[in-house]
Symmetry: C2
Subunit: 341 residues, 2 copies
DNA sequence: GTAATTTCTTTACGCGCGTAAATTTTTTGT
DNA sequence: ACAAAAAATTTACGCGCGTAAAGAAATTAC
């Protein structure tokens, strides 16, 4: 690295021997300049360690290279994991991702979108809070910014939706449970955070009917995003009152299942699929933590990789101007058999 | 809101009746203008929904209002939780926080800092990867940007360090375990990710000596940040080989403990403090998930609130120019008694 | 009420880069 | 080798705001 400190593109253009507009063009898209020119510029970048001022860059460009990634709750490893995936894909595609979390709070979600707007993002990958989201501010946002909705759909907002096929999820795992033991009861939140839960309940009802079993849904109280605690408290109540009509419980999601497992433990109820176990518990999501519960949780897992790939690709296409009608992509999950069911 | 769309500060200055330089002053610091002026401006903001262009703002200011928050692994709920805390404090103090994760990768950590630099942040709250961090790039970074190190200290880098008192952590919980049963063995990673682990081991050795017990450290293999899996695999090996000389195991951190609990489960070993339990297991960190293990994990918890408060305050003071000699603040943890020990 | 002080206005320039237009140079096709 | 096409250069302006300087206006002090 040379000792002369380059402070702007003008100076850089001088030392690199390439005119400033061409240098500017290069930074906008390295492939847009001739191969030999590109090499000269990159040699100079290497030598002088020059990087253009991103604020000055973004000020004039109508479209920046910024991409916002918004999740409802970053403290949930599921969202952390998918956000990590998306982040990497954005970087690989030459964008500058920025991570945001609504922390379970609708007001914060609105605020985050408000702030995002001022970053003039080329696009946004948004997993909405769901039921609690402020519909009007979401609507206003997606009008102005190319937004791909993932994880949980909100009407036909944005350019497309990419998520998991909740119907497949639940029917698949219900099928498994029915084939390997007593048919499952369904354990869920009474007022779930997002519409995925409704689909899963409906799919459970459908599947049970198809198999000729009597469905039983236990809906527990609880607001907010403390699913484990809701599952634990609700589980205690349901267990104490003997609300489960069979020895098998399918939870609406893994976090609820984790709470339920804790409740079972606290009541001395042995969970598993062995003969000595009293009940079987299964979850849904393939939560990063589900491997380490006791017993390890049988679940049906999101295809993290596929979801993030489809979501990112769809957004990048839209940014590049490939307009397509709104589309919903729902990917299948994979059953993960462990000891809990 | 009026229908006229204000597109820059010039226009806003016209409709608000305040000159542009004064409006600019207001956005730089609302308290720097006269009370009556401030009200006029804020009324106009409300009416016209104007927000200054952040790129243009940041371009000329030598110091922005940006604050970077960098953690080693956002998928770890511990870091997610503390990041959330810090984020909120930054917002409350009028800064614009941006979240970054090194995702356990030293190269990514360096890259994140490189990108952060171009955001000209007023300051950075950095929890380094630790042992794996690239010392030289950290050093270069903290020279240029006011950086507060938290969670895991790296020499005397940055403006200060704020974290937990690992010596107090381990001596406190070791004391508890000794008083309530057999003295603990210490379960850790052979090559831990950060220096906190070394302090904890040392503190364990000190405490055991003080109590007149023979210490026993079991160090398990494993690289990276998959602590649960490392704990599980190492736990299996240690349990099979009967390496634990007492019935009590203190883990270097909660994630390791969670893995160990899974190993115990998989070997049919009952964990708890009751008479029917075979061993006791305790962790350290107060991991958000520790409440929901089976049995719920006895641990010693970081004071998340205090750590984030001290860290944020120290950074804000430094940004405001209060230069103080480098200082290390280590906060005590609180013992959380649960069923596992 | 007057002077001192604070705050605001006017004027003006610059930051670093995007980008458009006209021109020149280089590359490509045949 | 020559014309056509592609890419680079020169020139020039603008983006939205920070900020400095000088003077006018409003507030405060006494």
């Amino acid at each position: 690295m040379a000792e002369t400190q380059i402070k702007n593109m003008e100076e850089f253009s001088a030392v690199s021997g390439i005119s400033r507009p061409t240098v500017s063009k290069y930074f906008n898209d390295p492939d847009s300049v001739r191969h030999t020119t590109r090499e000269k510029i990159e040699a100079a970048i290497e030598k002088y360690d020059y990087r253009p001022n991103i604020f000055a860059m973004n000020q004039n460009r109508k479209m920046t290279k910024n991409v916002g990634i918004v999740v409802p709750l970053l403290a949930d490893p599921y969202f952390a994991e998918i956000a990590r995936n998306l982040e990497q894909r954005c970087i690989d595609a030459g964008y500058r991702p920025t991570l945001f979390s609504a922390h379970g709070d609708p007001a914060l979600e609105t605020e985050v979108l408000e702030n995002l707007r001022s970053m003039k993002p080329a696009g946004v990958l948004l997993a909405p809070l769901g039921r609690a989201s402020d519909r009007r501010s979401l609507e206003k946002f997606v009008e102005d910014v190319p937004t791909l909705i993932f994880d949980s759909s909100v009407e036909e907002f944005g350019i497309a939706f990419v998520g998991s096929d909740n119907f497949q999820f639940t029917s698949h795992i219900t099928d498994y449970l029915c084939r390997t033991g007593e048919p499952p009861c369904f354990f869920e939140m009474k007022t779930p955070a997002n519409p995925n839960a409704h689909r899963r309940r409906q799919s459970y009802l459908n599947a049970m009917e198809a198999f000729g079993h009597e469905p039983q849904v236990i809906s527990v109280d609880g607001e907010g995003w403390s699913f484990e605690e809701i599952g634990r408290l609700g589980g205690h109540e349901a267990l104490s009152n003997k609300q489960f009509s069979t020895n098998t419980i399918l939870c609406s999601n893994d976090r609820l299942a984790i709470g339920l497992l804790t409740a079972c433990y606290e009541q001395g109820i042995k969970v598993g699929r062995g003969p000595e176990a009293a009940i079987r518990v299964a979850g849904q999501d393939g939560h990063p933590h589900s491997r380490y519960t006791c017993p390890p949780l049988t679940t049906i897992s999101h295809d993290y990789d596929a979801v993030s790939m489809h979501a990112a690709e769809a957004l990048f296409l839209a940014i590049d101007g490939h307009v397509e009608p709104w589309k919903s992509t729902r990917l299948e999950g994979k059953l993960i058999l462990r000891d809990s069911a």
